[in-house]
């Protein structure tokens, strides 16, 4: 039986609410790409739920004409867990930020990923607290001068991908807000993944942390500062694609110039399907300016999802014991009659 799906467009996913992000905020681009991707998935509009926490990014669900929950700070993955267990046939997108997911909500972020709950988690990383107007965040670099760190931050930042891969995320990726084509591809890949699909998006907060990711987004700079990951391909980057990443004898990545006695075959080949997360972790630890930062899909493996497991246990219990009989439940064990 073929079901005819309505042809949806980006416009169908736009809610009637006025968008209240600052002009030129990186969030606009992510919203636009999301609205482009969803109609391509062949899923009816009423089957999407957007769940968010608190922060600028977390206003996202209000701007999508789907089901949605604007939750409380840090708890979006936990709320999404409840939604998914209640309605496993929904496609759920968790929209979060660096403060929401990694500071106040660190615990839920971790547990959602290690359980492999079937949700997409899109983390808008702008390395700053925007909604509360400019305090440093858990991803701000050491030395960041912000409203709450006038002498510079002394906190070592957390690396979102390292955390996700450390929790053995089955899908982990990174994209940049203004790199539209690439962002669209990554969101599509996440949409098709079964299990927790984690995507870090470098997002420019042009008010409180403008240009933090210029090295990865500016046309004239990025070729030397990022390396695009492609499954089964060597890591090559640079304006002329003349440089690559090789694993040295210390098992550490190093930048090498191609040509001479170094050929492409000597380079590190990306394997997003590697069962061990070690390669993905190594890639996640390659940071600018020491290395070009990898963009794209770091890891994409299959593992049973949490929600499948939970529902399977319910189904198995019914298959084995039948749908519960209340009378026999009440009468289980020792009973006695009073006449």
């Amino acid at each position: 039986m073929s079901v005819e799906l309505p042809q949806l467009s980006a416009k169908d996913f736009a809610s009637d609410q006025e968008i209240r992000w600052c002009p030129r905020c990186g969030d606009y681009s992510i919203l636009a790409q999301m609205k482009k991707v969803l109609p391509t998935l062949g899923i009816p509009k009423e089957k999407f739920v957007f769940v968010s926490g608190i922060g600028c990014s977390s206003r996202f669900p209000y701007y999508m004409d789907t089901y949605g929950v604007h939750g409380i700070h840090g708890r979006a993955p936990a709320i999404a867990t409840g939604v998914k267990l209640a309605k496993p046939d929904m496609q759920i997108w968790v929209i979060t930020g660096d403060g929401d997911a990694l500071s106040i909500g660190g615990n839920h972020f971790l547990h959602c990923i290690r359980r492999n709950l079937d949700v997409k988690v899109i983390l808008f990383n702008n390395q700053i607290y925007g909604l509360t107007k400019g305090q440093y965040s858990p991803t701000s670099p050491v030395g960041a001068r912000t409203k709450s760190t006038p002498y510079g931050s002394v906190d070592r930042p957390i690396n979102p991908l390292c955390v996700a891969i450390g929790a053995e995320a089955t899908f982990a990726a990174r994209a940049v807000d203004v790199d539209i084509k690439h962002l669209t591809m990554v969101l599509e890949r996440a949409a098709h993944h079964k299990g927790t699909a984690f995507v870090e998006v470098y997002q420019d907060c042009n008010v409180f942390n403008s240009g933090a990711f210029n090295y990865a987004s500016k046309k004239e700079e990025k070729d030397d500062n990022v390396v695009y990951l492609e499954h089964g391909k060597p890591l090559i980057f640079g304006k002329n694609r003349s440089r690559g990443i090789r694993i040295n004898e210390m098992s550490r990545p190093e930048i090498v110039e191609l040509g001479g006695d170094i050929r492409e075959d000597d380079l590190l080949f990306h394997d997003e399907k590697a069962p061990e997360p070690s390669l993905a972790f190594l890639l996640a630890r390659m940071r600018y300016p020491e290395f070009p930062e990898p963009l794209g899909v770091f890891r994409d493996v299959q593992r049973p999802t949490y929600d499948e497991g939970v529902i399977a246990q319910v189904d198995a219990a019914v298959a084995k014991q039948g749908t519960g009989d209340l009378d026999s439940l009440y009468n289980d064990g020792d009973t006695w009659e009073v006449h």
Binding site: T81, V83, L326, T335
Partner: protein, 628 residues
């Protein structure tokens, strides 16, 4: 221990048999001595025999405090009776103490002339010193004077009983609780068959251990039968309870069964999200076995996640429940507020324990009523129900879900450690008498152009649209919203309007709950107002006062917010109002605030339930002196 037949007939083995109305037995020993098990088995045997029973398990928060120490003493008290009873009893008729520490911490509760059964093998120098005894109380003439003391070498006799089964000494000694149990079975003519069956089921894979426990049980029984130490034993005839089929049930079991009933009869899944915490964890344990009734359990990473998942599951159209105790409820507060402002149906169970902070994890208290009332930021009223007894949890949790769904709001359900772990006979309901929770979701838009998620009915209740329904896409969230559309809206008048509407909706529940009743005269000198697990002590104390001809009524609340409509009138019908509570006066605070009545409090914060005598004494003093 009221003796109803003083002329004792000759019993078996020529021993006297006395008939008794009501008996209180307490087993106490080290936390590793299996006292909870012995108590549970005795309760079961008594319930199956047809007595009314009421239990009070009392154990330390530490799983195994140092052996022999005072801190490690674990006790299980039960009252069994030939008539209906409501408490586990004030004072103990028969105390079984397995070591000096247990004797020291429990002797003061044994009534003068009561029976004291001691494991004399445990009264060695080391154990005596750990319990702080300078001399052996078994050997001086004063310490145990006034009690009927039975010094039984239980360790040795148990080892003898299990000899030849190839058990280590440690394994053999683990059977001592069954020896003690067997002895008390003989003393009160209990049938050991249910226990023997239980042992066979429990240790089916380890026949030697099963056999050892049965031998120990029989050894204890025969010891009572044959030795001269015991010259008399007792019968407590079955109670005349309402006709029907009964079983024993604890509060946490009853609550879990109530939720399975909700799932099954409504045809809608119950999702229970919880994080382990004493004394609520057993609800999670029970429900995780009941998946085939349509129950999903989620052991969350923390209390906040459990509450957040509950909000998510409610948005997802399931019947969502979480449970915790005070510390966990504190953590849930913000997410409860989200449930409140999004107006989604769910239940938050608080099995109260001694606080503040970690407090007394295994002891009971009623000190979270004001937390339930006011423990969220902003104006955030929620309905609150409080169970009165273990079996009441079964009915009231279903009522809580009915209110949650009918009024689209989180409902707080208050239980406590005493109700949760305490057991009583439960008259098994007929399925046809149970009222299903009716779940309704709209299938079409409620306005021509769009779905309006906050368009309300005459009771201010909004629709519960099931996600996945075409055309009803809508967003909910924690920001203030415009009425009808649910769109984010910050205007001053809208906030006032929404705050008022949310309050009125909850207040209006008073029109749908039953009116409050009292036991006793409709007006008079005194009304005693109680709530929660103090029901039994207060009811019994008030009945005593009534039987003495005093003008006293008992008003026990199960609906704490909103109060029943007629409660104010009831309070004004009596000269005096007494509110006994296991806190510093939280219900009294609410009653004084709501009804301007000069209620007085009887307040106990010791981690223990009221004794009947404490309430009876307060009633007497209050009536005689006009003050407490």
């Amino acid at each position: 221990m009221a003796t109803i037949e003083t002329q004792a007939p000759e019993g078996l083995n020529g021993k006297k048999v006395e008939q008794l109305e009501t008996v209180v037995v307490r087993f106490c020993g080290d936390s590793g001595d299996g006292m909870q098990l012995a108590g549970t088995q005795f309760t079961n045997a008594s319930a199956v025999f047809g007595n009314d029973v009421s239990t009070l398990p009392d154990f330390p928060a530490e799983i195994r405090a140092p052996a022999g120490s005072l801190a490690g003493v674990s006790g299980f008290q039960l009252c069994f009776s030939a008539h209906d009873i409501y408490t586990p009893g004030d004072t103990v008729d028969t105390l079984v103490a397995m070591n000096p520490a247990a004797l020291k911490t429990n002797l003061s509760d044994l009534k003068r002339g009561g029976t004291l059964i001691l494991n004399e093998d445990a009264f060695d120098r080391s154990n005596l010193s750990k319990a702080g005894y300078a001399t052996n109380p078994l050997e001086d003439n004063s310490s145990l004077a006034g009690y009927r003391v039975h010094k039984v070498p239980m360790t040795r006799l148990t080892r003898d009983a299990v000899e030849g089964l190839g058990l280590s000494q440690r394994e053999a000694d683990r059977c001592r609780n069954f020896f003690a149990l067997g002895l008390v079975y003989w003393l009160y003519e209990r049938d050991s068959k249910p226990t023997v069956q239980w042992v066979k089921d429990k240790f089916g894979k380890n026949p030697a251990v099963a056999e050892a426990n049965i031998r120990a049980l029989n050894g204890g029984y025969n010891y009572g039968f044959s030795t001269e130490s015991f010259t008399v034993h007792y019968q407590v005839p079955p109670a005349k309870l309402a006709p029907g089929k009964y079983r024993k049930i604890t509060g946490n079991e009853a609550l879990a069964y109530g939720l399975a009933t909700v799932a099954k009869l409504s045809g809608t899944r119950v999702i229970y999200s919880g994080y382990p915490i004493t004394p609520a964890s057993d609800i999670l344990h029970e429900l995780s076995k009941l998946k085939h009734f349509g129950v999903v359990t989620f052991q969350a990473e923390d209390e906040i996640a459990a509450m957040s998942a509950t909000v998510g599951a409610a948005y997802g159209g399931n019947l969502a429940v979480t449970a915790s105790s005070g510390p966990g409820i504190c953590l849930k507060g913000e997410a409860m507020g989200l449930g409140m402002i999004t107006e989604l149906p769910m239940i938050i169970v608080d099995v109260q324990r001694g606080g503040p902070s970690t407090g007394l994890p295994t002891k009971t208290e009623q000190s979270d009523l004001l937390l339930a009332m006011f423990g969220r930021n902003g104006e955030s009223p929620l309905p609150i129900l409080a169970a009165a007894t273990p079996s009441d949890c079964f009915d009231l949790i279903q009522e809580a879900m009915r209110i949650a769904v009918d009024f689209m709001c989180p409902v707080i359900f208050l239980s406590d450690g005493y109700i949760a772990n305490g057991a009583e006979p439960w008259r098994i309901p007929k399925l046809s008498d149970l009222k299903p929770v009716v779940v309704k979701h709209p299938t079409e838009r409620n306005s021509p152009d769009e779905f309006l998620p906050y368009k309300r009915d005459e009771r201010y209740v909004r629709p519960w649209a099931l996600i996945g329904t075409k055309g009803l896409e809508h967003r909910v969230g924690g920001l203030e919203k415009a009425d009808v559309t649910g769109n984010v809206e910050y205007s001053p008048t809208n906030h006032q309007h929404m705050t008022d509407i949310r309050f009125l909706k909850i207040a209006g529940i008073a029109d749908y709950i039953p009116e409050q009743t009292v036991e006793g005269p409709e007006s008079g000198d005194l009304v005693v107002v109680s709530w929660g697990g103090t029901y039994g002590s207060v009811r019994t104390a008030v009945r005593q006062a009534q039987s003495e001809g005093k003008s006293v009524a008992h008003c026990h609340l199960r609906y704490m917010n909103p109060f029943p409509r007629n409660l104010g009138d009831i309070l004004k019908s009596y000269d005096k109002v007494l509110v006994p509570e296991l806190n510093r006066g939280q219900l009294r605070f609410l009653l004084r605030n709501e009804f301007l009545v000069d209620a007085k409090g009887l307040n106990k914060i010791q981690g223990k339930p009221f004794l009947i005598s404490e309430v009876a004494e307060a009633i007497r003093k209050f009536l005689e002196n006009g003050s407490l």
